[in-house]
């Protein structure tokens, strides 16, 4: 009896899995960033460093959020990197060769994402095919189509409206730093970052407060019980894939806005980075556990460690891959050990 009371009173055991993993991620991110400021100084003391990380990872944040939703509902989607490349190439061809409009190009991006979501969602949810195989084929298809549309990588140069949009910088009030000459340089972010942060907030609210959002957790946690609760499991799965691919489409446009070019090798391995960020952010592939805010911090942690490694002088290409993998490994082990401890504590 007294044992039971102890467990109830223990903060560690009272927290839900989702919140516990989220807190681990956020704490580690801040420790890492503060550590970088103290030990490396330099770029990390300037606020622009953080904003640069955001600028170059806005697309990853968006796709990783979609990935988290699919993973929470118990699936996986490895086609997002391919979709991003396909969107960039299609938009680049449309804008540069056909002199298209910004709205038109955005609609193309959205349409590709929606089409992908509908097809993959139908195959996974209603035909009961493994999501891994479906999205694997989706990835192959997207990469191949990108090459079929245009073989050679190229920059968009002939579309002034797009170039203006690409150059748009939003200054952050109250943040900035003095450069070597003592001139005040305000910190800036790109449009993509705003899009990404707005999407993160919307998705966070959807997952926390709407019926659809809660049913993602229910389906991912236990399909049978979700069915018993009267949740339409197939439709929920379908929507998870629809949202993920649509976000990949939007993420593709943000990526395109950042790089301003089309290439078949764009966003190579982005799906793996998205999965890694989701895991670091506390989403579990077994489903039912995860948080969008955690995913945001997952992306930030991932790119912060990359920056730390490259500014520590280990700038050979292979160190990045090894550090990301090491980080992923550590987080997976933490998750595994923590979850086992909790299970044991709850049982006794």
């Amino acid at each position: 009896m007294s044992k039971k009371k102890l467990i109830k009173g223990n903060l560690f055991n009272r927290m839900s899995d989702t919140n516990l993993l989220l807190i681990i991620t956020v704490v580690i991110f801040f420790l890492m960033y503060i550590g970088a400021i103290i030990f490396q100084g330099g770029g990390f003391t300037k606020p622009q460093m953080l904003f640069n990380i955001l600028n170059s990872n806005a697309a990853l944040i968006i796709t990783a959020c979609g990935m988290s939703i699919v993973m929470i509902s118990g699936g996986i989607d490895i086609s997002v990197g391919g979709v991003v490349a396909l969107v960039s190439m299609s938009c680049a061809v449309y804008l540069d060769f056909h002199n298209g409009s910004i709205i038109g190009s955005f609609l193309i991006a959205l349409a590709i994402g929606l089409a992908y979501g509908i097809v993959q969602g139908l195959l996974v949810a209603y035909l009961d095919i493994q999501p891994f195989i479906v999205s694997l084929a989706g990835m192959f298809f997207a990469r191949g189509m990108t090459t079929i549309i245009n073989t050679k990588p190229f920059n968009v140069e002939n579309n002034q409206a797009f170039l203006n949009l690409k150059q748009t910088r939003i200054t952050v009030p109250g943040m900035g730093s003095y450069n070597r000459k003592g001139i005040y340089v305000p910190a800036y972010i790109e449009i993509g970052v705003v899009v990404a942060l707005v999407l993160v907030i919307i998705l966070f609210l959807v997952l926390r407060y709407t019926k659809l959002g809660r049913s993602f957790y229910a389906v991912g946690g236990n399909k049978q019980s979700a069915l018993m609760l009267g949740i339409n499991v197939k439709r929920t799965k379908f929507f998870s894939h629809l949202i993920c691919s649509t976000l990949a489409g939007i993420g593709g446009y943000v990526y395109f806005l950042h790089v301003g070019s089309g290439s078949a090798s764009h966003a190579m391995g982005m799906e793996m980075n998205a999965i890694a960020s989701s895991i670091i952010g506390g989403t579990m592939l077994s489903g039912g556990v995860g948080n969008i805010i955690g995913t945001l911090f997952g992306v930030l942690s991932l790119s912060t460690i990359q920056n730390i490694v490259s500014s520590a002088g280990l700038d050979q290409a292979w160190w990045t891959g090894i550090t990301i993998a090491a980080m992923l490994c550590i987080f997976l082990l933490i998750q595994s050990v923590v979850m086992r401890q909790r299970k044991r504590a709850l049982k006794s």
Binding site: I129, I133, A137, M139, I279, W318
Partner: protein, 359 residues
């Protein structure tokens, strides 16, 4: 009775890969009647070699077939797939080159016997497999995520082993493994595959590996109650896959006598998983059919060769592959199968009804 026969044939696990193989063969025959012609010619060094599309498929499908053996076991035991095989091929190949060439990247002679280099590669491959296996079996991490670690780091580690240099093996004997042995016109890789198949068939026949793997895959806790150690079985399947990876790495590296870290065995993990799926093995684990997977691997290579035959660019290859895969997967989906068998039953029933009405 005829109906049950049809059901037996269409329901068999080998049905899908054999049908796919036949379909590909027919398409190729229609487009190019000489597709299956095998000619005996001589290669650059004057030795007799067989050439032809069929030989190409058998030759280049070998790595895939070897990987499919290991991947089938991993899939059956853990209900997940190893996505790091391409990256571990790079690691094992890099280790092999490091042993063969030493620190000098352009040696005059090899620094160690080939067999030693191969054994080192085997150890490295098995270590990688053991790492994945430990994460999956002991720490209970989902296989796809656990192997994501080596998938991300593998090629970087491979580059790091050789300090990002590209050593070239000077010994022409090293080329035999991925090419031809002088005097024998059949590609050596075919013999390697046959050796691997014999080994795995013997292992499955004389040990309980196959039975235990399936038992663990079908129900882990009940297999534990029956005295099987699921942790060890899962770990073992990953180590076996590591060994398969080392053999595949030997072939891959031998083909070009050097290595390209970012390109070697690229996307091979996807092909290996597809081979298992195409062979009708459930990707969620449980029962498996080894022959079906191996056949699946050759079907995939057949498809690749066919697409090249149609002058498809190597970069665009994946789009066509994806369409074929999706069609195959839809066709073999349980929901679609039940729908079609229901449709057949209806048609035959209405036919019977009409016959009876005519009577």
């Amino acid at each position: 009775m005829g109906k049950s026969m049809i059901k037996k044939i269409t329901g068999h696990q080998m049905f899908i890969p054999i049908m796919a193989l036949l379909l590909l063969a027919v398409v190729n025959l229609i487009v190019d009647p000489g597709f299956f012609k095998v000619t005996l010619g001589t290669n650059n060094s004057g030795d007799p070699v067989l050439s032809g599309s069929l030989i190409t498929i058998l030759d280049y499908g070998s790595e895939l077939a070897i990987l499919a053996i290991g991947m089938t076991l991993v899939t059956a035991a853990s209900g997940g797939q190893d996505i790091s095989v391409g990256a571990t091929i790079a690691i094992a190949g890099s280790a092999m080159l490091r042993v063969l060439c030493g620190t000098n990247t352009r040696p005059e002679t090899i620094q160690a016997p080939i067999i030693v280099a191969f054994l080192v590669a085997c150890v490295v491959g098995m270590l990688c497999g053991a790492f994945n296996g430990a994460l999956v079996s002991i720490f209970k991490i989902q296989p796809m995520i656990a192997t994501l670690i080596l998938f991300t780091a593998g090629r970087s580690i491979a580059a790091w082993i050789n300090n990002n240099e590209l050593p070239i093996v000077p010994d022409p004997k090293f080329k035999y493994f991925g090419g031809f042995i002088p005097g024998i016109p059949i590609p050596t890789t075919v013999f390697i595959v046959i050796a691997c198949i014999i080994v795995i068939v013997l292992v499955l026949k004389f040990t309980n590996l196959g039975l235990y793997t399936q038992a663990v895959g079908i129900n882990e806790s009940s297999s534990k109650l029956n005295g099987i150690n699921p942790t060890f079985i899962k770990f073992l399947t990953f180590v076996i896959l590591g060994l398969c990876v080392a053999v595949a790495a030997l072939i891959k590296v031998s083909r070009i006598s050097t290595i390209n870290y970012s390109v070697i065995a690229k996307d091979i993990e996807m092909d290996a998983i597809l081979a298992v799926a195409l062979g009708g093995n459930a990707l969620s684990g449980g029962k498996f059919n080894m022959w079906s997977s191996i056949l699946g691997a050759y079907v995939i290579q057949f498809l690749t060769t066919t697409l090249y035959k149609f002058n498809v660019q190597s970069d665009a290859l994946s789009a066509y592959k994806a369409v074929v895969v999706i069609l195959l997967v839809i066709f073999s989906a349980p929901a679609v199968r039940t729908y079609f068998s229901g449709l057949f039953a209806k048609i035959s029933a209405s036919g019977k009804g009409r016959k009876e009405a005519a009577k």
